[in-house]
Every structure is written in structure tokens, then in C-alpha cells.
């Protein structure tokens, strides 16, 4: 008996137990795509990105291995730590490029807003789980406050992109928790009308003298650049112009791997990070872009399925929110690179170069796996 315990096959089995093969397959497909694109866009970064992937898989495995209820119990300490760090950033943070986002903790610099992307939905899922069966308007108001504090702190930094992502992550939990449509629909309508009118009257609103209430100049600038990239052809507009050229010139089947002229002649800015989708669309064309969309849709489908089958309220909310976070990253990034959304710093999930976002997102995958496993555990 004891011999069997240390049998290598059984060890492997034990090791693989937390892993959901479907999610793992999807993740492998994405990593494979990332590998192919990175070797074209920035081969010198391939090694370090593979290290990031290895770390990310480790983090994913750990999160998957951790029982989901244990995960949820980490919510409060993580959330509190995050808020304290954000306050610390506001007070003692390092200023870089006009924004105060980093905190030097001696060993390394950390960006607490990144932590908040996962801590936020965890916290709210845990909170709703605590109030299960007693969720009323008071709970939603309290949840709104829990969300507003870190988002407010991140907006202050200022970091529009991250604050929107954190706000969205929290909102998804609240939405899945059952926030009434009576509130969602009017807000959505106001939002759509607002954005629509900015688009319609962009020319007037973007005149130099016009001040936008509650927005900084650079934020206004970003929105205006989106509306008319040619306004700033050498600044942010240059990015959008060059990335749409890259995408459009890719055509149906693309220019071929390593043959993207926009990519390889440095017309494409940030080609290995936020704009890596343009590399894909240039070298593999519409075909390659649709393949990526399908892989992502498979990821969402699996995520939603796990959420729908999750045993407890907290795990359900968590799984649903995490899936929507994946969607948000993917949609905002591709929308920005193809010129239908403002340029905000959002990476293409699992593909863009960079360790932090990869770890955060893989943690999300691990959480999904953990939730998936908790259902199996409950059943057995």
C-alpha cells in the first residue's frame, strides 16, 4: 500500500488532479499562439516570456489546488491589504510618467492596483456568500462602497485603464449577485447615450479650450484621439493609425509569419505588448484573428459552464466574474488595437508580453479550475 503511494504514476495523477484538462488545453493553445507571435514580434523576449509562462502555470496550479472555499476565505485579508497598499501609494508612491502607481517595498516595486483586479471580485464574492439568503438593497449599496474605495484610489493615481478594469471586475460580481435590471438598464442607456453623443459631437468637444468635467486633459485627449486619430498622428494617434494599417494590410490570410512589414519595420508601436494583436492580424490575416476569437470564446464558454455548475454562491460569482474579466481584457484590447475603443493600457490576455498580467490572469484560470474541482468534490 505504502509502495503504491509513492508510485510515480500516482504522484503524477495527484499532481494533475487539480487541473481541468479543457481549460488547460485552451491555455496551451493561447500560449502556443503567444509563442509563435512573440518569436516574430520580439524573439529576444521569448526566453523571459517562457519563464513568465512557467511561473504563471505554477500560480495557476496552486490556485487550482487550493479548495475554492479556502480561496474565498483569503478575500478579506487580500482586499484589506490591497486598500492599505493603495493608500500607501497615494501617500508615498513613486511618481513615474506623471502617475503615482508604484510602491517601493525595498525588494521590488509593486503595483497594488494589479492585485486589486483579483482581490476585488474575491472580496465581493466572499461578501455576498456571507450574506447569502439575505441579499437586499443594503447589501448592494455596501458592495458598491466596497468597490468604490479602491476604484477611487486607482482613479486618483491616475490610472484610467486599471480603474475601469477593477470597477468592471467588481461590477460583474454585483451583476451576477442579482443587481436589479431596473438599475442596470437605465445606467446602460445613459452610458450608451453619453458615449454616442461624444462620438456625435466629438469635433466640438475636442476643441482645445473645452474642459471636460471630472476628466484630466490626457483622458480627454485619449478619447478625442480615438474619435479622430489623425488629430495626433505622431502621438497616440500614430499607434492607432499604424495598428489599423497593420490589421487591414493583413488581408484574408495575412502576410505570413515573420513577414509583417508593419511589425518588422517598427511602424507598429508596443508590438510585443498591448499591440501584439496587430502582429497577429498582419501576419495571419482575418483567418488568424478569427481563430483567436474562437479560442477565447471557448475559454468563456468553459468559464461560464463552470460558473453555472458551481456549488456555492461565492464560487459561482467568482467564476462568473473571472470569466467576464477575461472577456473584458480580450474585448478592450482588440477593440483598442482595431480602433473602435480608446487606447487604454490593457494587454491581450495570455498573449501579450509581460509577467504581471499573465500571473493575474493565470490565477483567474486557477480559480476557475478550483471552482470546477469543488463541484466534483461536493458530488463525491
Amino acid at each position: 500500500m505504502s509502495d503504491n503511494r509513492f508510485h510515480p504514476l500516482r504522484l503524477l495523477q495527484a499532481f494533475l488532479r487539480p487541473i481541468d484538462p479543457v481549460l488547460m488545453l485552451i491555455l496551451a493553445a493561447l500560449f502556443g499562439y503567444a509563442f509563435v507571435l512573440m518569436s516574430s514580434a520580439s524573439p529576444e523576449r521569448l526566453d523571459s516570456q517562457m519563464t513568465h509562462m512557467a511561473v504563471a502555470v505554477g500560480v495557476m496550479w496552486f490556485a487550482a489546488w487550493l479548495p475554492s472555499q479556502r480561496l474565498l476565505s483569503l478575500a478579506l485579508p487580500l482586499y484589506l491589504a490591497g486598500v492599505v497598499l493603495l493608500v500607501g501609494v497615494a501617500l508615498f508612491g513613486e511618481v513615474s510618467k506623471g502617475a503615482q502607481r508604484w510602491l517601493d517595498i525595498g525588494v521590488t516595486r509593486i503595483q497594488p492596483s494589479e492585485l486589486m483586479k483579483i482581490a476585488m471580485p474575491l472580496m465581493l464574492a466572499w461578501f455576498f456568500q456571507q450574506r447569502e439568503g439575505r441579499i437586499g438593497w443594503r447589501e448592494f449599496i455596501f458592495a458598491g462602497l466596497l468597490l468604490a474605495v479602491p476604484v477611487g484610489l486607482i482613479v486618483k493615481q491616475p490610472d484610467l485603464g486599471t480603474s475601469l478594469l477593477v470597477a468592471a471586475a467588481g461590477f460583474y460580481v454585483i451583476f451576477f449577485a442579482g443587481l436589479t435590471w431596473k438599475l442596470i438598464v437605465p445606467v446602460a442607456v445613459v452610458g450608451i447615450v453619453g458615449i454616442g453623443s461624444i462620438v456625435a459631437f466629438g469635433d466640438t468637444l475636442c476643441q482645445p479650450g473645452v474642459e471636460w468635467v471630472g476628466m484630466r486633459d490626457y483622458q480627454k485627449h485619449r478619447v478625442c484621439t480615438l474619435l479622430d486619430p489623425t488629430q495626433d498622428p505622431l502621438g497616440k494617434g500614430f499607434h492607432i493609425i499604424q495598428s489599423t494599417i497593420a490589421i487591414g494590410s493583413g488581408g484574408l490570410m495575412g502576410k505570413g509569419w515573420m513577414d509583417g512589414t508593419q511589425t518588422h519595420l517598427s511602424f507598429l508601436p508596443e508590438r510585443h505588448t498591448d499591440f501584439i494583436f496587430a502582429v497577429l492580424a498582419e501576419e495571419f490575416g482575418l483567418f488568424g484573428a478569427l481563430v483567436l476569437l474562437v479560442i477565447y470564446l471557448a475559454l468563456f464558454a468553459r468559464g461560464f459552464l463552470i460558473a453555472a455548475r458551481a456549488p456555492t454562491l461565492g464560487t459561482r460569482l467568482l467564476a462568473g466574474a473571472v470569466t467576464m474579466i477575461f472577456f473584458t481584457y480580450a474585448f478592450v484590447n482588440m477593440g483598442m488595437v482595431s480602433g473602435i475603443l480608446p487606447v487604454v493600457g490593457v494587454p491581450l490576455p495570455f498573449i501579450s508580453y509581460g509577467g504581471t498580467a499573465l500571473v493575474t490572469l493565470s490565477l483567474g484560470v486557477g480559480i476557475l479550475m478550483s471552482v470546477h474541482r469543488s463541484r466534483l468534490v461536493n458530488k463525491t
Binding site: 439568503g133 484574408l252 508593419q262 484573428a289 461560464f304 453555472a308 467576464m324 477593440g335
Partner: protein
């Protein structure tokens, strides 16, 4: 109000929300997919072009300019490579500091700075502008060693135009200079802008201007892939530049130099033509200038020196200045008289020393007259009375008709820019020339003066030389040309520049022979005899004096007239007498009588052309030539 729910109810409501979220995600992704379809399929052509425009740049390859050599291969204009120090203002850390620091390494004088400022105004800040030309090897080495200190400064090898003979034949060769706004407009007009991309210089005068199209060559292009910074990454294709054609001239530089030397410090012009082809053997305008001064942009000081000089060295007297031909007009008048039938060679007049016309007495130079004068004698002794009468008989229209056939009073269409028309007077010309009605009227007396080469008529030395060539070759009027061959740099093929006459005047050989016989006599016993004394060949000639200033009522005393008011000295000639190989016209401004200054110059030129004799000193002025003047 949302209140208590059973877990099962909760769960099914959650599933609904998941479905909504899923549908939302799907719709958003369909939006993305349609955006990609729009960009990659519908707008593919547009973006494909944009991407190509992005990546491909055409870099010009500037062709080498053709060289100019004389008929014996002596180089008049060539190129040589030298190093220049160039600054790209946009890439420096402060232009002034850079120039100051640079001055410590490679001397940059005030002139360099001034020229740099001027060029800077014409260029854009990201273009590289030369500040020092022709660096020595040592200077290049010094700079290269310290290059790291000078961002935006670089040494480049460039080709420079060089005129090794300096001031010699500079009016013929001309010069090149930096392309200015006016040149640019001209280039645009010719639809030649692409061919001048990358070219800094263009022909400004002389052959450099008139043969610009041949000399420049064809600019090549290199198709390169560039990155967003504009740096060339890869060469895609390359079309080499085609070197400009070389010019081989009819000019004989030895002859040209002898003619130039013969002028000494006198002002004037000489044109020598091969009467059998119209090829220009020498074309002198004295004084001259050094075209090398212009290549890099002439300094203000040099420009002032040339432009303000009372001698006007920049003026091409041979083709632009027109002077009354004086008695050199008489052989052409004689030919007109014979050709029109108004005179025969043997018809003679009795010359009383004057000609009365409409109550005015036109005087001959010789008091009391030359006695009995026929056509031959009229030329040899330069009898005014004979030509007063002949002019009267021919009438102004008869004169104008004949002379215009010889090309007098109209441009010869020599292959140099800036030729003047001169004046072949006629009633029509006078109407056009003057405004007041009484000035516009043609008087009979006007015709009489024209008959002896005075009055209104005025011709360039080039026209006189060309007319002389036509006279001695029996009536073939050529378009004179300096360039004999245009040599294609690719094939080495020599294109001959038109040796065909543009016009043949119907002259009777015996008429031509009669005039030529008289001209030969001029050089034997007449006004040309002192200049051509002892010549081992026979030649023909005619002196002339163009009045600059007439002292009414008193005898012309040369010594009393300030030098600039002295008459212009003319001489036309050809040699050898039986089979002319050279025809020429010489004009010396304020040189006095034709026999005094112009004829001795002609002698030296013809001596060299026929005998290879080199005098190597200015032609002497024949101060005793006063007697027997025309």
C-alpha cells in the same frame, strides 16, 4: 424589492444572468469580427497601399556630371571627389555651440559661416548642410577622431565641379551653382523634378547652362525598405544613375589661350569660326573671370569685385555686346551691290572726298578723295564715298534684306545662352524702336550712314565672325556651335552637333571672289598690311572703327579723348586666302583704329592656327597705324 430567495431560485436566476453575459460577450466578439472583416477584406486594398507607402522609400542616386573637353581632349570642366563637413541642424545639441566646438577641430572661417547661414535658410532642419568644403586628409582624420563629440555632424565624400583652366574660356564653359528657387521652377516646368531629386547643383551660365540636360545625366533610384524612423533597413532594388554626357568642343584651347593672351589687359572680344563647318574655334570675351568662384556659392566680396568692376568681366562681349561694325561692313556692302546687280566689279566712281545728300555733305576720311575708285579699291582703301553712293542706290530695304540673310541683326543661335540680337536697321525697326513720331521716321541720311557701318547698325563680334565665315565659304550660313560631339557616357557613342548650314545664300562665285581678292589686298597693302607683314601665308581682312563719340566740327584727335571715349577697334579676317580654314572677328573696346589694336590680335591667332606659332605675349598695339586708317 429583492429579498429572500430559495437557493434553487437563486441558482436558476444566476444561470440566466450567465446566459445574458455569454450572449453579451458573443455579440461583442461578433462586433470585433465584423470590424476585422471591414479592415481586412473591404478596406484591404487601401491599407495594403498604406503599408507599402510606409515601408518603401526611394533614395536618389545622383549621377556624375559630364565633363567638357576641347577638340584635343584638354579638360575644361571636370569633377573631383572631396570631403565636406556637414551639419544636420535638427540632430545637434545647439547649432552655435556645435560650430564653435567644431572650429577648434577643423578651421571654419567667416566665409564658411556666411555661406552656411545662407544654405541653412534654404534647407529644412533635418537636411544635412555643408559647412566646410574640401577638407584635407589631416582635417578629416582630426574630425573623425573626435566625431563622438559632435552629434549631427558628419564627413561626406562629394563630387565637386572643377574648372582647371580657371578664367580661360570661362564665358564659354560658364559655371554651375546651387539650385535656387528660380531653377526649381524651371525644373518643374520641364517636368524634370524627379531627375533633380538629390541634385544640389545646376548649370547657371555658358555651356553648363545650355547643355544642362546632356551634362546632368539621369538620376538613379534605390528602392529601400525603411522603418518608422526613416532609416533604410534593406535594399529592394536599385536603378543605377546614368552619368551625364561629355561634351567635346570645337574650341581649340591653345588657340583660345593665345587669343586671350593677345588681348592683354584690353577689353574686347574675338570669335574664330571654321568656315567649312560653323564650328567655333575660339570665343574670347576679355576680361574674364574664374568660374571656380561660383561653384560653392560666390562670396559677397568676390561678387562685388566682379559685378562692380568698370571692365564688366561677367559680360560676354562676344555674344552680348553689339557695336557698329564700322568699315568691316564694307565687304558685305560690296557683296550686296554685286549680288543685287547695283554694281559690277569694274564700275568705278570719281571720289571728290565727299557725298552730297539732301543738302548734307557726308565726308570721306581722305581730304580730296581717293580719285577713281572701283569695287576692289573701295575695299582696299576703305573709301567712304563709294559706299555712301552704294547705300543710296541699294536703299535701306535692299541693305537690310541682304544683311539679314547673312545673319546680321539676328541671333545666330549659337549653343550658348544670352545672345543679343544686335541691330539691323530698317524703317520697320526704327518705328518699333522709338516712341516719338519724328524719331520713328526713317530719313534718307540714315541709310547713308548705315552704308559705311556707322549709324544705327550694331552687331555682335559673333555675328560679324559668322557673316565673315559665310562670305568666304561662298554663302553657307551655319548655326555656329561650340560643341562638336555629345558623347554618351553609356555607349561612348559620339553624337555630331549639326554641321549642316541653316541657309545658303545664292551668291555668284565670281562676286565672292572679287570681294575676297580685295580683302586679301587689304592685308597685303591696305590697312591690314602692317599687322600681317611678313606672314608666310596669304590672308584676307578688313579693319573697322566704331565711333564711340563724335567731336562735331573738329578733327578727331585721339590723344585728347579720354580712353573710354576712344573708338572701338574692329577687324575681320580669314586665312589662308585660297582655302580658308579660319574666319574671325576681333573687337577691342576703345582700341582706336582697327589696324591699331584688333588686327595685331588677329595676326597672332591666325599665326598659331596655321603655323602653330606661339607669341605668348599680348599683341602689340600699332601706334603708327593712324595714317591710312579707314
Amino acid at each position: 424589492m429583492i429579498s429572500f430567495h430559495a437557493p434553487e431560485q437563486d441558482s436558476s436566476r444566476f444561470r440566466w444572468r450567465v446566459l445574458v453575459a455569454g450572449v453579451f460577450a458573443l455579440v461583442c466578439f461578433l462586433l470585433l469580427a465584423s470590424r476585422f472583416y471591414y479592415l481586412q477584406v473591404q478596406k484591404f486594398d487601401y491599407f495594403h497601399t498604406r503599408a507599402e507607402d510606409n515601408r518603401i522609400a526611394l533614395l536618389p542616386i545622383v549621377p556624375n556630371r559630364g565633363t567638357i573637353v576641347d577638340r584635343n581632349g584638354v579638360v575644361l570642366a571636370r569633377n573631383y571627389a572631396a570631403y565636406t563637413l556637414e551639419i544636420t541642424p535638427a540632430r545637434t545639441n545647439g547649432l552655435e555651440e556645435t560650430i564653435e566646438a567644431l572650429n577648434q577641430v577643423v578651421p571654419i572661417d567667416a566665409r564658411d559661416r556666411r555661406r552656411f547661414r545662407k544654405l541653412l535658410e534654404e534647407s529644412r532642419s533635418f537636411e544635412s548642410v555643408p559647412i566646410r568644403n574640401r577638407l584635407s586628409d589631416e582635417e578629416v582624420a582630426r574630425f573623425v577622431a573626435q566625431r563622438y563629440r559632435f552629434p549631427g555632424v558628419d564627413v561626406q565624400a562629394r563630387l565637386f565641379r572643377d574648372y582647371p583652366l580657371g578664367a580661360s574660356a570661362s564665358h564659354v564653359v560658364g559655371y554651375i551653382g546651387r539650385i535656387n528657387q528660380r531653377d526649381l521652377e524651371r525644373i518643374e516646368e520641364r517636368d524634370d523634378a524627379a531627375n533633380y531629386r538629390g541634385s544640389d547643383h545646376i548649370g547657371k551660365s555658358g555651356l553648363e547652362l545650355s547643355y544642362e540636360a546632356e551634362l546632368h545625366g539621369t538620376t538613379g533610384f534605390e528602392q529601400v525598405e525603411v522603418n518608422a524612423g526613416g532609416r533604410a533597413v534593406r535594399r529592394l532594388s536599385s536603378t543605377p544613375a546614368v552619368t551625364g554626357s561629355d561634351l567635346e568642343l570645337n574650341l581649340d584651347m591653345e588657340l583660345q589661350k593665345i587669343a586671350e593672351t593677345a588681348f592683354g589687359d584690353r577689353r574686347g572680344a574675338l570669335v574664330a569660326i571654321d568656315p567649312s563647318t560653323g564650328g567655333v574655334l575660339a570665343l574670347v570675351s576679355a576680361p574674364s573671370f574664374d568660374p571656380n568662384l561660383f561653384v560653392d556659392g560666390i562670396s559677397t566680396q568676390d561678387w562685388k569685385g566682379l559685378n562692380d568692376s568698370p571692365d564688366h568681366p561677367l559680360l560676354n562681349r562676344a555674344i552680348y555686346s553689339a557695336y557698329p561694325p564700322g568699315s568691316t561692313f564694307k565687304p558685305f556692302m560690296a557683296l550686296a551691290g554685286l549680288t543685287t546687280g547695283k554694281r559690277t566689279p569694274s564700275q568705278a566712281i570719281a571720289d571728290p572726298g565727299y557725298f552730297n545728300f539732301a543738302g548734307h555733305r557726308f565726308m570721306d576720311d581722305k581730304i580730296g578723295g581717293h580719285g577713281t575708285v572701283d569695287l576692289h579699291k573701295s575695299i582696299v582703301v576703305s573709301c567712304n564715298t563709294y559706299y555712301y553712293q552704294l547705300a543710296n542706290d541699294l536703299g535701306i530695304d535692299g541693305i537690310a534684306n541682304f544683311m539679314s540673310q547673312l545673319g546680321l541683326g539676328s541671333r545666330t543661335e549659337l549653343d550658348l545662352p544670352g545672345e543679343a540680337e544686335g541691330v539691323l536697321p530698317s524703317p520697320a525697326w526704327k518705328r518699333k524702336r522709338f516712341r516719338k513720331p519724328e524719331q520713328q521716321r526713317w530719313y534718307g541720311g540714315d541709310t547713308i550712314s548705315v552704308g559705311i557701318g556707322q549709324g544705327y547698325n550694331a552687331y555682335t563680334p559673333l555675328q560679324m565672325a559668322n557673316a565673315t565665315a559665310a562670305l568666304v565659304n561662298g554663302g553657307k550660313v551655319f548655326r555656329p556651335h561650340l560643341v562638336r560631339h555629345v558623347i554618351d557616357s553609356r555607349t561612348g557613342e559620339k553624337r555630331v552637333v549639326e554641321p549642316e548650314p541653316v541657309r545658303e545664300i545664292a551668291l555668284k562665285p565670281e562676286h565672292v571672289a572679287a570681294v575676297r581678292r580685295a580683302m586679301v589686298e587689304v592685308n597685303k597693302v591696305g590697312t591690314g598690311s602692317r599687322a600681317f607683314a611678313g606672314a608666310p601665308y596669304e590672308s584676307g581682312g578688313k579693319t573697322g572703327t566704331a565711333q564711340v563719340y563724335s567731336l562735331k566740327g573738329s578733327k578727331y584727335v585721339e590723344g585728347r579723348v579720354r580712353e573710354r571715349l576712344r573708338d572701338h577697334s574692329w577687324f575681320i579676317a580669314y586665312a589662308p586666302a585660297d582655302k580658308p580654314k579660319i574666319a574671325l572677328a576681333v573687337l577691342v573696346e576703345n582700341g582706336g583704329f582697327g589696324s591699331q589694336s584688333a588686327a595685331p590680335i588677329a595676326r597672332q591667332v591666325i599665326d598659331y592656327h596655321l603655323l602653330g606659332k606661339r607669341p605668348n605675349q599680348p599683341a602689340p598695339e600699332d601706334v603708327d597705324a593712324v595714317e591710312n586708317a579707314d
